[in-house]
């Protein structure tokens, strides 16, 4: 993948995606319908964004809605969730969902494609932090 393809796209506040991730999400939406992410914690395939058909994973009071991803060619924004307790440790970082070659990811839908979603992170600047809404 070229540097160009990996460049974060300007969308969303707390969470963005790379062009490569957007391409994959367009394809996966074609196969599975509307999608969602839930960022996992812990263990083998963990600390990774899990991608499911929208509504497959039941979110509730224990979860934080971190943001929505806008993908050209996909009708509805793709929501990104994380457990609220985990979010407390993540809230100072900006997330970019990328994709790398790989295999295996719990029940996430991209694995059979031979790829794996991956979160890349950076610290928010002070200016950005002051503009963020509370989640």
């Amino acid at each position: 993948m070229s540097v160009q393809e990996r460049r974060p796209r300007p969308s969303g506040k707390r969470v963005d995606l790379t062009d490569a991730a957007a391409d994959l999400l367009r394809r996966l939406t074609g196969q599975h319908g509307p999608l969602m992410f839930h960022q996992s914690g812990g263990c083998c395939d963990g600390s990774s964004p899990m991608c499911y058909p929208l509504g497959e994973f039941r979110t509730g009071r224990a979860d934080a809605h971190v943001g929505d991803l806008t993908v050209d060619g996909v009708d509805e924004p793709i929501p990104v969730w994380m457990s609220a307790s985990q979010f407390e440790y993540w809230r100072h970082t900006h997330l970019t969902i990328d994709v790398v070659p790989g295999r295996g990811s719990g029940f996430s839908v991209e694995a059979p494609e031979g790829v794996r979603f991956l979160v890349r992170s950076r610290l928010f600047t002070d200016d950005e932090l002051s503009e963020l809404d509370d989640v």
Binding site: G42, C43, S47, Y89, R103, G104, S105, A111, R116, R120
Partner: protein
């Protein structure tokens, strides 16, 4: 130093088949949709076999086979089942070296470890549960002079087991041995990153187990794991993996009202109290080794001691010794018997670890050693190697709060006992912990106050079959190992019996 020949090379002591199908009803059957996926070794990145890409149709077939075998297997005597488990253990032991090489090639871990730990522990685990089921007893409660409550253990039926990739054979054994001992039949799904070594094991033990009692369906989580976890005829799901999938499995289990056992990882604190440095003796050396344990199995252990908490008064002397110890860890070809740390299990795991090394630096943590990929040259350049990495920072940083699942430890200091416990418990997880002190009282109190299921005290990374293992907090529910595991795979049947001739007196 000795180097085992790689599978596929002349002189190798183990040969993988070019292709593995599903093992259902005592025989290998091709996948319903006819698809396969490539299985690479993390040692070089090269593909060495291909694996059936299972789907719901294959899962249905496997569950049906397990269901068909459940009644007869559940009626066998404990002695008979123990006999099968002991024979499995003997067969593994007789082929230990070949299985160890297969496991190393499959996962990337050093053969030194599979020879000394993974496979011998698997042997012991089968023997332990063979013994435990022989010794298990029901109970009798005397309700009154003429009324007795009998409690019997009965198997659940068909259980689903979803296995992680970090110890493919040992983790399969942790789940298989108690389930089979308790009289259940099993549909097991290996991790898609490490689906092949379990078949090397199966080739050796298949003749020992009645058809349908043990079934293996390969494939991806979304295509094979999910229909297995959702299957209405499955009476229990056991899963080792991460939190989001764990929640999803609980969600599916709620649809069928079945129990789950979940082992979901951790961020284990490893606490070194000042008195460990009172003398530069054998105990100090042991504690230093305990610090370096984060690199065991390339850090791909749910209980990796990935947060080291060092008392401030010894920090400036303890850490240079610890860094020197870490830098002596020998990284190399996993099939070299001197190699202590091998390859990360997959490319995506490798990338994820590098992404954490990146965010750790962005958050201001300081790299004391490592912090980069290791290019070991030659054919190993295609593999996934990372230098053992020590970060210095504070407990609010993400590298202190998230399971990196790599050879990365995040180090911070604490002032006193209360500070140590506060930092140790400031985590979402509670699977493992380590406490190091020469003072038994300090070690005991700390061990009881840390919210974790396993507190290694003056040791780390020991996994005997007779010690319960499992998590507090978001590290999961249920336990593995120990005879209590039999309960996790059994129903309780109560016969409430009256020996009285007289009416009960209601009507």
């Amino acid at each position: 130093m000795a180097r085992y020949a790689a599978p596929g090379e002349p002189g190798s002591i183990v040969t993988f088949q070019p292709r593995y199908d599903h093992f259902i009803g005592g025989e290998y059957v091709p996948p319903a949709k006819g698809q396969y996926f490539e299985n690479p070794t993390p040692v070089t990145g090269g593909t060495f076999t291909e694996i059936a890409r299972g789907t719901a149709e294959d899962v249905d077939r496997a569950v049906a086979a397990a269901e068909g075998a459940a009644a007869a297997w559940g009626r066998t005597s404990p002695a008979e089942r123990a006999g099968v488990l002991n024979k499995i253990a003997d067969r593994i032991e007789q082929n230990l070296e070949a299985i160890a090489v297969a496991e190393s090639w499959e996962n990337g871990k050093p053969v030194r470890e599979t020879l000394a730990a993974d496979i011998p522990l698997a042997v012991d685990h089968f023997r332990y549960f063979a013994g435990a089921i022989r010794a298990q007893e029901g109970s009798i409660s005397q309700i009154d002079a003429d009324t007795v409550a009998y409690h019997f253990h009965e198997p659940l039926g068909v259980v689903a087991q979803i296995i992680p990739w970090n110890f493919p054979i040992l983790m399969a054994t942790w789940k298989l041995a108690p389930a089979l001992a308790a009289g259940n039949t099993v549909v097991l799904k290996p991790a898609e990153q490490t689906p092949a070594s379990i078949h090397v094991l199966l080739d050796l033990i298949a003749d020992l187990v009645p058809p349908g009692v043990l079934n293996v369906v390969n494939g991806f989580g979304v295509e094979a794991g999910k229909p297995l976890a959702q299957h209405p005829q499955v009476r229990k799901v056991a899963f080792t993996g991460e939190t989001t999938t764990g929640r999803l499995i609980m969600q599916y289990a709620s649809e069928n009202i079945i129990p789950v056992t979940l082992e979901l990882g951790g961020k284990s604190p490893n606490i070194f109290f000042a008195d460990v440095a009172d003398s530069r003796d054998d105990f100090y050396d042991k504690a230093q080794e305990g610090f370096a344990m984060f690199a065991l199995n390339q850090g791909e252990v749910c209980t990796c001691p990935s947060r080291a908490l060092i008392q401030s008064s010894i920090y400036s002397t303890f850490m240079p010794d610890a860094i020197a110890r870490v830098e002596r860890i020998k990284q190399g070809h996993p099939l070299d018997t001197d190699t202590m740390i091998g390859a990360q299990a997959s490319n995506d795991q490798f990338e994820k670890i590098l992404s954490y090394i990146d965010i750790g630096q962005k958050e201001g943590a300081k790299i004391l050693t490592g912090g980069e990929r290791a290019d070991l040259g030659g054919e190993l350049s295609g593999g996934y190697y990372i230098r053992p990495t020590v970060f210095e920072g504070h407990n609010k940083m993400r590298i202190f709060q998230e399971e990196i699942f790599g050879p990365v430890v995040s180090v911070t200091r604490f002032d006193d006992y209360a500070d140590a416990i506060k930092i140790a418990n400031d985590t979402l997880y509670g699977l493992g912990a380590g406490v190091w002190s020469r003072d038994g009282n300090t070690a005991y109190r700390a061990g009881r106050e840390i919210q974790a299921g396993r507190v290694w005290t003056n040791c780390f990374h020991a996994y005997p079959a007779h010690a319960a293992f499992g998590g507090y907090k978001q590290s999961g529910m249920g336990r593995e190992n120990h005879k209590m595991m039999l309960d996790h795979y059994q129903q309780t049947k109560n016969l409430l019996v009256s020996y009285s001739q007289n009416a009960q007196g209601f009507f």
